[in-house]
Symmetry: C2
Subunit: 400 residues, 2 copies
Amino acid sequence: MAHPERTEGPTGTRRVGIVGAGQLARMLCEAASELGIETIVLAEREDDAATGVGSEIRIGSPRDPDALLGLARSCDVVTFDHELVDLHAIGFLEAQGLVVRPGAAALEVAVDKSIQRRRFAGWGLPVPAFCVLDGTVVDDLAALRSFADRIGAVPVVKAARGGYDGRGVVVASSIDDATAAVSAWRADGVHVVAEEPVAFRRELAALVARRPGGETAAWRTVETAQVGGVCREVRVPGVVDDVTASVAADLAGRVAEVTGVVGVLAVELFDTDEGLIVNEVAMRPHNSGHWTIEGATTSQFENHIRAVFDLPLGATDLVAAAIATVNVFGADHGGCADPLAAALAEPTAKVHLYGKASRPGRKLGHVTVIGDDPAGVAARAWHAAGALGTPGSDRAEVAT
Amino acid sequence: MAHPERTEGPTGTRRVGIVGAGQLARMLCEAASELGIETIVLAEREDDAATGVGSEIRIGSPRDPDALLGLARSCDVVTFDHELVDLHAIGFLEAQGLVVRPGAAALEVAVDKSIQRRRFAGWGLPVPAFCVLDGTVVDDLAALRSFADRIGAVPVVKAARGGYDGRGVVVASSIDDATAAVSAWRADGVHVVAEEPVAFRRELAALVARRPGGETAAWRTVETAQVGGVCREVRVPGVVDDVTASVAADLAGRVAEVTGVVGVLAVELFDTDEGLIVNEVAMRPHNSGHWTIEGATTSQFENHIRAVFDLPLGATDLVAAAIATVNVFGADHGGCADPLAAALAEPTAKVHLYGKASRPGRKLGHVTVIGDDPAGVAARAWHAAGALGTPGSDRAEVAT
């Protein structure tokens, strides 16, 4: 509902527009509400996760310039739930003097993997060996085979845009399968990045918030456990030693600086024998940072809101020695009569549900437990997540 | 906005109706959102604190039976932001089989101080010496003077209903002033409670949540610092020793049991040379419990939501050794250009603003700081609250 009559608080009313209404928008709204900041959410569907939480909901496409313009004109600043946006439309808003954070220039590297890999390589950031297949060479498929020969392996192939949670990525076992995937994408005009498969010990995620003037605040680097490209568990600090954690945080800080991002930046990293390598980058709150809601003095959602309003960033210290966050996925089994009651029977579990309809495999929420003992907090978080639907087999798959 | 199309989450959609749309409703909505629970808020005004946060907002009076009936029929359970309700209307809903928690039978003692004092005295709970002036004796004013003679002091006089934050209470310096206040109330048909003034060392608050079946969870008893009957600072644990804390928590547990309250119960207590004495009772989340948002594993708002849905209660342990919460009041001075920025410059301050328009003396929010050092967390919380408007003189007044 609109609030034309709302009067000013002690600091004047601040309004943030959020493009997209998924769980990240929902948790941004929760954080904004605590600070007394109003939210206007641009949702694609009436039943998107954030529609029950924002101060005002508008239905529209994140790629509709008119919807974006209307949103930006109603708010002090526009920010994002996801990267499935039209950079030209964002640039158009900025050209009119409207405030969009992060801006189009920064967002490019999060929206387009081919741009990201080229830029990062140019900036000296550690990325896998890669090859962009976008029609600028005469024969993309010949270039793919040539790249495969050079690295001596079947490349991982990725659509440059639109992928998330393992979608848009093909890890083929043969060059023929990789070629088929690239061929299909190229026939649709999709740009492709082919990459050397990286042998890693584990996956890490570094998280940093940056204000427009360059002030940053980094959280503790964490270990993430994935199945099929989808994050299942986040361990804080996990097995990440302090030196590696610090190197990862510095790397995220460099990405933040060179891209000029404003807001939260998440960098997913491979921890390899040769050091850290950048896997993915997101310019928004990220699944690997949900633990910060209970586990840090200031959450990624609150610091994202602070950053986009150019307000001082909050402290990012851990508030406990061990933190585990486990994602909740829709069950493909019947489950118990009252899953929420079963989950809350674990009294230390902090259950977050996103208000999404359950479908097998759909990410519906997450559970965080904080405490002193890494094994204990993980066991309790998995137990509560399991009650809500997450298959126990997930845990077996991510066990280390 | 309404969400007729919303589909069921992993646990089916739960909906709570909240009567009243102040800051308590706002923070209930924030807690419900985290659990994926929808909120329908019955607000008196479009600009009430919770109107920017609830899943659905309805405008109506908390004393309008039709508005209450419509709310109860749209929800699984109805609960409250305040006690300014019509008990008959609540009882009417219950008689129809609609779920209201706490129910009318429990709410009576929170709504009406004369009923509370009589009941509590009958149950053997420690209350000040008191005398009810409600027209059941021939001459209320003669009864007042007789009571004053008996206690050998000028009684504190209180309107039985409708008071909060010091309103509806007169601490007169002469029997004539007390008589004048009672006389005015009685002429309006208002029931009055006259009480012995209590000499106390300090004020404490005990907080407990209770499920319908009787399961309870108590938080650590805290010290509250008041000026003019209005809470300014909450210190956890403050100077409350463990024995006193435990006695206070037991007392709150007894009140919860004998009243059959469902949800959060706050008991404000005087700590005297003769032991603890009940001052006030609230059957809802309470200002003395805002520290639980960051300072306890489970907040009072989350456990209130859990309790009214008869879900398992969350752990109430402290997550830090020292916690301070300072209320934010509207300034009667100009203040700085951007009070929110100034407050957030204290990186550990957890700022909560309620989205209310600023007026001198109006409660606009609160600030919590957690840490190891009682003096340090208090100083930081006062500093941030001061930036937002709270006069520094408040701190001098509550200094011990």
